[in-house]
Symmetry: C2
Subunit: 619 residues, 2 copies
């Protein structure tokens, strides 16, 4: 269902109802751009830490507009053994609400716009009929404006001659207008004296040249009761205006407050944009983001995010799924050993035809994402004894995937963890190299020609990470470079150490934030659901090979793009790395305790298995 | 005529022909926004100097996209005594040309987008079918890329195994692909040996999972002649690709190179955007802008810009034209004492109906601007003896209006002069006030309540210009504020002095630029046209009152908007000021000599009057 400004109000209750009744929700966003800064390859360095990636996206991607939001709700019908889905495709545009409302500026990236144009994206619909929105601060300010106006109208007195939001002040009446004003004063005095007349229409006072429609002031005499009635009418109207201005943000609030599982595909940018556009500016660092997410998502229940791209890249899927781009994933999941999910659109909702539909319409992408989730979740059920055909969104089987957002093009860190400190793989085969800005990749290949296959991850014009195939080679490379003049080589550990030193002051603040996080955690345990701390690390997966700490899988080469520019996907080879927290992060990790997991309500899940699937901390 | 990407190439010669044959051109641009920074009121302070205004627009307005460009060419038919016009409405979009071409990011301002959306602006046409463009530097780079590619293909040798623009390098062939590669080598050797076979189709080498259309390499044996023929073909194709990429910039070059009079309405932003988008980043200061304009516009002839908003705001028009917004101006100029111009659209070109057409379509706005110019120019002819009905674009009567761009909402400086130093009115009734950021306009009225009517021009949150009605009050105000703690008052002269001190270093550079300007001027005098220095300052206008140095006119309150946001037009009252260059600017002015004016070709103009109309330096 297409939702635009003109039909938003009529359909809002339908949207909220769909959210409330759903077993899970799938979302997707379309943006006016991806990266406003360095090239995508610099934006997504293969050795970014989650914190670094977050900082880059925050800095270079938040000025774009999320202008289409797809929401697809899925509700399982146990009798018919199928899902009933309702799909909504919202067009979003920050149409200024009034003169004093925020005049949002947003950036467009030509390549993204061109890409969407080629998909038939309807920009006219966005700009002419997009649903407005306010973030929380803007909503608060607008509410205050109304309150102030009301208190002024209720006779705050001395200031009430100033129209709100103008810089007008009392002026001396110009000579040529004195006669007009005097006449008005006379007329009003007449009205007050005369008991018969109830109202008075003043002459229009716009100049004769004007082409405006004639507007004039009507002065009415009213009693107290009538006055109150009119005031209440006005207040109701103002409340409606306020609701209209908050607009699409109400849908986002409904999603957050529902406590439902929210599915996305490669959803980090979607989550960041949603917070940034409809809640508040993104916090300084990942720890604070986590805090904020729990603030938003935990407001009523414990909410969870699940990224289907991460799920598809993880055991037991990664061995049987070659390409995790949304389009390819959807196709793959229709084939053996998976089964296409049974999903029907609800009555009155249009259905999508997956064989012909265009990707990159947010509503459709959300729908496909939901299908992928169902197929993968159900596949997990086949490992139970006895096997299950249907695995619900409340099943423990999928809990290991909660709140872990896929990290695009990071070689050895699979996800950004919203429930703990950054994963810190041991990068003992990685070098940090600085060199003159004239150097190209071929110069680096030249330099390291003695070491066999290497991988280059550009940081900027004059530096890059170079990963060697053997950690033992690292010290040799550093030693041989000792007297080099044009370039400098250091180990990854040395590089990190230096960066840490620079950020000493900053870290103090971060630790404090973790403490606050802990405090928050203790507080939220008082929700209606009984909580229990658990930690998924046992690797008792049956049917495929055991996943060890050192097991790796390459980042897939993709034909489609999941919100990053197409075709720029570098072809990473298998890398050798090992996830052991660095000394410093160990301390942080120690302080951190797992956020509680929601316990499954009795009866909805019968398996006795407890800790089955592991999401590893490295690829 | 609507010109989009798909019909641009077919119509380019038509566009160039129209420019070449025209007597004058009218242009207009539509942008994705106006001001990306402070509020419009801060962007257009009533006491901005031209330099300050330029800096503000440069800083806060250039990140927007000029995405519709209107061009209307007017050619006078002496036999029929009417103009023949050709109107073009170009949709512009920086569609990335290839992987390595610039990926332009531009800002959209919701209020501007919303305004255009309400006018029925077709965003889909812009984004799906806008004509691309390159600025001069980008064009140069692309040309270099092609040259490099060519020289590589011509056997530069050792590097030719590297595909251009990739970071690929020779790699060790993986074990599982060795067989495939060996087979290819064998096949090629076979082809070279065998005289019968002319070409060889290699097997596709994409993996089996791929959904790509099958692509494969064909190896052909060719002799030297065939090789050359193919190379020439390729070069011609590359040249065409290059032309396509330069795209709309070719139209702008044609306009600049034509040397024709270019008309615009409130055209400062149009001129700035045109330079910024299709030539090069805007220069640091106004002097350098002037230099650049003369560089661009003078490349073949002496070109001239004329701003109809400035013209309509100046004698002899300002007394009889109340509202200089484009829509109102067009209406006014149909009435006595003006006469509607006789203009017909050329064969094959659609005509506009001014009574029903939508404003803010760039092609239409350009057309209307041209109509306004013709009416006003012809009106000037009525003051000649004998009077003339038709005043051509080459007439001396309009020369006083050349290269002076209207300054929106500046109280006492009418225009930005592209032919000389900033106008510097004496602002001896103006105070500069700093105060706590909580202050509102009413606090300032309060503070100056003893001085009668004042005018407040906000600079930022904590400072404003306040103009008093009497210059004599200025010192009193400064004196009484001496011991104030929360605010500070200084005279305008003191304020300027302090700013000058801060910019001491910078100014040196500006003076050097003026010297270069002078050098340039001497050089351009070698053009085919005989030049003559003249200076319009005699005020011998007949028929209306004499315009003295102290005569003022209020800035009109407008119903329409000329590229600034609607309705925010402050209602300026008549101000009292006097244009006398400040001590410092006198020195600069001394150094500066008038840029030559093009002498009118013999026979095209018969009036004996020489210096009739003056464009004053202050309102």
């Amino acid at each position: 269902m297409e939702v635009i400004r003109s039909n938003f109000k009529d359909n809002l209750s339908k949207v909220c109802e769909a959210i409330e009744e759903a077993d899970f929700l799938a979302i997707d966003g379309e943006f006016s751009g991806i990266s406003d800064g360095p090239s995508v390859s610099a934006l997504t360095n293969g050795f970014d830490t989650p914190e670094e990636r977050y900082q880059k996206l925050k800095k270079h991607s938040m000025d774009f507009l999320l202008f289409q939001f797809g929401l697809c709700t899925f509700k399982y019908d146990h009798t018919e053994e199928k899902y009933i889905m309702k799909s909504f495709n919202f067009y979003i545009f920050p149409k200024p609400f009034n003169r004093s409302s925020p005049d949002v500026k947003f950036v467009c990236q030509s390549s993204s716009i061109d890409f969407l144009a080629n998909q038939g994206f309807d920009f006219n619909k966005v700009f002419r009929n997009g649903i407005p929105y306010l973030n929380q601060e803007e909503e608060r300010q607008l509410r205050e404006q109304y309150d102030e106006k009301r208190s002024q109208a209720n006779g705050a007195g001395s200031l009430s001659y100033i129209s709100p939001n103008t810089t007008k002040c009392p002026v001396t009446i110009p000579e040529d207008q004195k006669k007009f004003i005097e006449k008005v004063v006379e007329q009003i005095e007449e009205l007050l004296k005369n008991e018969e007349n109830e109202s008075l229409e003043l002459e229009p006072c716009t100049g004769s040249v004007s082409e405006f429609k004639e507007r004039y002031i009507v002065i009415s005499k009213v009693d107290d009761e009538e006055r109150k009635r009119r005031e209440q009418q006005k207040q109701a109207k103002e409340q409606e205006e306020l609701n209209d201005a908050v607009g699409f943000s109400r849908v986002v609030h409904a999603i957050a407050n529902s406590g439902k599982l929210v599915i996305g595909h490669n959803m980090l940018l979607d989550v960041m944009h949603t917070i940034h556009q409809f809640y508040c500016p993104l916090p300084d660092n990942l720890v604070k983001l986590t805090l904020l997410c729990f603030n938003i998502l935990n407001s009523y229940f414990v909410s969870r995010l699940l990224d289907t791209k991460l799920m598809a890249s993880t055991q037991p899927f990664k061995e049987i799924i070659n390409n995790t781009s949304l389009a390819e994933l959807e196709k793959r999941l229709k084939e053996i050993p998976f089964s296409p999910p049974k999903v029907e659109s609800a009555e009155g909702f249009p259905s999508y035809d997956t064989s012909s539909e265009q990707l990159h319409e947010a509503g459709y992408d959300a729908y496909i994402t939901g299908l992928c989730f169902i197929s993968m979740a159900n596949f997990l059920g086949s490992f139970l004894s006895p096997p299950k055909n249907h695995v619900s969104a409340r099943s423990k089987l999928i809990e290991p995937f909660f709140n872990k957002l896929f990290l695009m093009r990071v070689m050895d860190i699979p996800y950004l963890n919203l429930e703990g400190p950054d994963l810190q793989p041991k990068r003992d085969h990685v070098l940090h190299v600085t060199f003159p800005k004239e150097w190209k990749t071929s110069d680096l290949y030249q330099l390291f020609s003695a070491f066999g296959n290497i991988q280059v991850s550009w940081i900027d014009d004059t530096s890059a990470f170079v990963s060697l195939s053997q950690p033992e080679q690292v010290q040799i490379a550093v030693n041989t470079s000792r007297y080099a003049e044009s370039y400098r080589i250091q180990t990854y550990a040395e590089y990190v150490e230096k960066k840490h030193e620079e950020k000493q002051a900053k870290r103090k603040c971060t630790e404090d934030s973790w403490k606050e996080m802990e405090r928050k955690r203790l507080k939220t345990q008082c929700t209606p659901y009984v909580s229990q701390s658990r930690y998924y690390c046992v690797n008792s997966f049956t049917g495929t090979s055991t996943v060890g700490k050192r097991s790796m899988s390459p980042i897939q080469e993709e034909t489609g793009s999941d919100d990053m520019e197409e075709g720029e996907d570098p072809e990473y080879n298998q890398t050798d790395s090992c996830a052991e927290p660095l000394p410093d992060s160990k301390k942080r990790a120690k302080k951190f305790k797992k956020i509680k997991k929601e316990q499954v309500p009795a009866g909805s899940f019968t398996s006795s298995s407890n800790e089955i699937f592991e999401v590893p901390e490295t690829w």
